[in-house]
Amino acid sequence: MSESKRARLSTAGASVLLWVSRTLLALLVAYPMLSAVEATGIGNGPDRDAVLFRPDALMLLELIRVGAPWFASALKTALLLTALTLVLELAPLACALDMLCGGERNFRARAARSFAVFPRFCWLGAVAWLTQGGLLVAISLGEAALRSALHAADERALTVAPLGLVALGALTLLWVNSVLDLARAAVVERDLGGRSALIHALTVLRGQPLAVLGGSYASAAASAFAYLTAAWLMTRLNVGNGSAATIALAFGVHQLAVLFAITWRVRWLERALDLCAAAPLASMASSASSSKDLT
């Protein structure tokens, strides 16, 4: 098998892995709310859940009204499952990165390796979330300050000015995410410990800021486009009146969007691996025992 063919295969494999795991975990997250909807009895009629898609929203509002007690508890469970899922998804991500690194490993070996890097991924994720949380607090403080500074300004300025801050915040969050991905790549590619990987990621970022931001920006924008387009297309399909085929089509459209977003993410992860591999390792992070410094 040629090198390029193998690379293409591993790209496809990683995408499929991430897609399948995303769909399965999403099912887990959606399950409590889906069963809460079922419990309301809204779908017990001859027209089943098509009634929820009638244009006056009469039954949709009825679902919310009647289902409120179910939904309150289902939502709590769903949030808990979401938190769990965000951690669980690190395993297929590690596996996907490992596949993208190449090498002739069988599934068992890859699983073992994913298992080995999992704690470091968790540590990196926690660091990134804390950083992003701090950033969000800073942004909201900045927004409050901006609002009171603009107190006398006209209503439109009062609404629009904080949006600039929000955009800036989104950009920094994106940057944090790209550093996180670089660090993950460094963990897998060079078997670095959490802290060393982070330092390496920051070195890469310092060396090639535009390449890093460009790659992750393209991936984030592509997934935003994919999800929005799917949502828009789904409003065009008449699922309420439609047959099973229409529903299947809507399902296909939204799955395609997920796959599209994941493909672009995989493209960025490949790029992150390349950037990590190309950058010289910082002297303080000696490679041999580096995997021990994860705390």
Partner: protein
Amino acid sequence: MQRAAIDLLIGGLFSGLSVVVLIALASAPSERPHRARAATAEPVLTPLFPSDAALRNGAPKVASYTIDATLDPIKHRLSGRETVHFVNRSTASLNELWFHLYLNAFKNDKTLFLRSPFGAGRSGDKAHEYGYIDIKKVSLAGAEGIDLWPSRDRHSPNDPADETDLRLPLVAPLAPDQSLDLTIEFEDQLPEVVERMGYAGRFHFLGQWFPKLARLEPNGTFAHFAFNPLSEFYADFGDYDVTIDVPEAFAVGATGKLASETHASGRTRQRYLAENVHDFAWTAWDEFQTRSERIAGVDVRVLYPPHHDTNAEAELASVRLALPHFNALYGPYPYPTLTLVHPPEAAGNVGGMEYPTLITTGGPWYATLGGGRFIEVVTIHELGHQWFYGLLASNEHASPFLDEGLNSYAEAEAMESFYGPGSVFDGWGLSASSSAVNRATSADRGADEPVAQGAADFATFRNLGALVYSRTATVLQTMGRVYGERRMLHAVGSYARKFRFLHPSPNDFSSVMQEELGPEAATVLSSALLARGTVDYLVRDVSSAPAPSDAGVFDGPSGRKQKKPDPPHAAGKYVGRVVIYRHGALQFPVDIELVCEDGSRQYRHWDGRGFTHDVDYAGPSELVGVSVDPEQRILLDDDLTNNWLTTKTVRLPRVFERGLFAAELLLGTLGP
């Protein structure tokens, strides 16, 4: 480097496309089956009322006011002098007058208004700066030297802390049909905007700002009441001649028609005349933008804050649709002007209020974005009040359902005939109608309290909102859906014509409904409005089986015969039985839809009498489901989820599809 540039370009491209798709998505209407009505400016009816030429064109005038008011926008003070021409149109001799000084509701924390639990009232805020009205002098024409005011009662009846409802004894009795002229000097200190009046910066809105007589009932009593946070108002018709004096830079909007305007020493004096009205409100601000347009023969003017041009256009567009519509349904708007005031965000509590020929709207500058029809809803609602409050000047304190309730019905009917099922919201692939929202708001409160009770009797403002506004509208819409929408419109239109320029009571309303809709519907209506009447249709039992064969041993005139059973299903015939129950006191006739295995449907009808109803089914395929009121005419039904039942396993493929997408979107955003 080159690759980074390409990535940034791709990212930029996807971002740009995302914005385009986002805009398309935000304005995407929901799925529309064929039966959705299209938006139209024309009333969809052939005229219900062919000629309105003979309608009453003026009111019996009881209290007419001539006011001269000067505003100091820095101190937020107003000094005024008013003359009240009062005619005793009752059958009794009067020994006293009752004055409403509603500005005193904001005088201190002990007033009935401010001590009432907040959040229970119409506005969510307490007064930040207190407001009050001081009466300097009250004198009778011909006896200007004598100040009558010291002889007034010092506080509202049985409420030493409140000065919003004061009795003034008359020196000599006023016989029926006699009149008197009172001159009153007064000074207002305006509160910071608290409830539909006050100031916010240099923006000023004046409602309930002058000493005003309570309404004189035909029996010679005054319908007077202290300003309650749950209540609105009630007053007699008259003519208003009001001169407003403000700094030159201020634009003014007011009840009535601008008759003259003079400028002197940096100030503007504007004189407004309004005939056959029962209140007068005005606003002044030096930042108002204005737009004017002649619509259906009325000079319409919008005053709005900077950057609210799209709101102003949406408000004018709403009037373009609704004014002719209401003219046709409830009788022509009789005034030459209509003023719309969109208050700035800081004065949001002033928004959404009605005064004769002047209404306030509201909302942020971006209110027209994103699919909501808030601007249209509030404009059309307040415009509807020109009939249900303005022309039909009911006692809003005693029977708020007559103004807010009937007006919510008028608003929903208008919104739905203009915008179809997306009359409240239409975007993001989702739409919601006024009737659905009204139903959802009031569905579980029908048994809480009677709809047709006094404003102050409601336990909370939320209940008042749910029952007076939403439930009245839902009751009338249900009546329309069951007994005919045209009949219902004709009934309400007849009421609006018969009591135009009068003060109709709940009995007046009921009697018109009885005449128009017949005794059965009238009984349902009064039960729903007066007696907490509710209804819930539900299905509990559905069963179906192959029709029993007619096998066995039969003795007949020609001897004994033995008939063998048919092979199973050979006859291809099934029988089934459904039991439907009606909970609650309201009886509506309903349709029943039977759904068969082969997809065919059969329909039955139940007059709604009795508690239960059996439906027997016979047909070529198995009965698999039933639905009571399948067209959902009965919006009052307490629980719509128990109106149907199926014998099949429940599968929710659409919910599954959307739910999974939502979860994938969530993980796509938050996930690693």
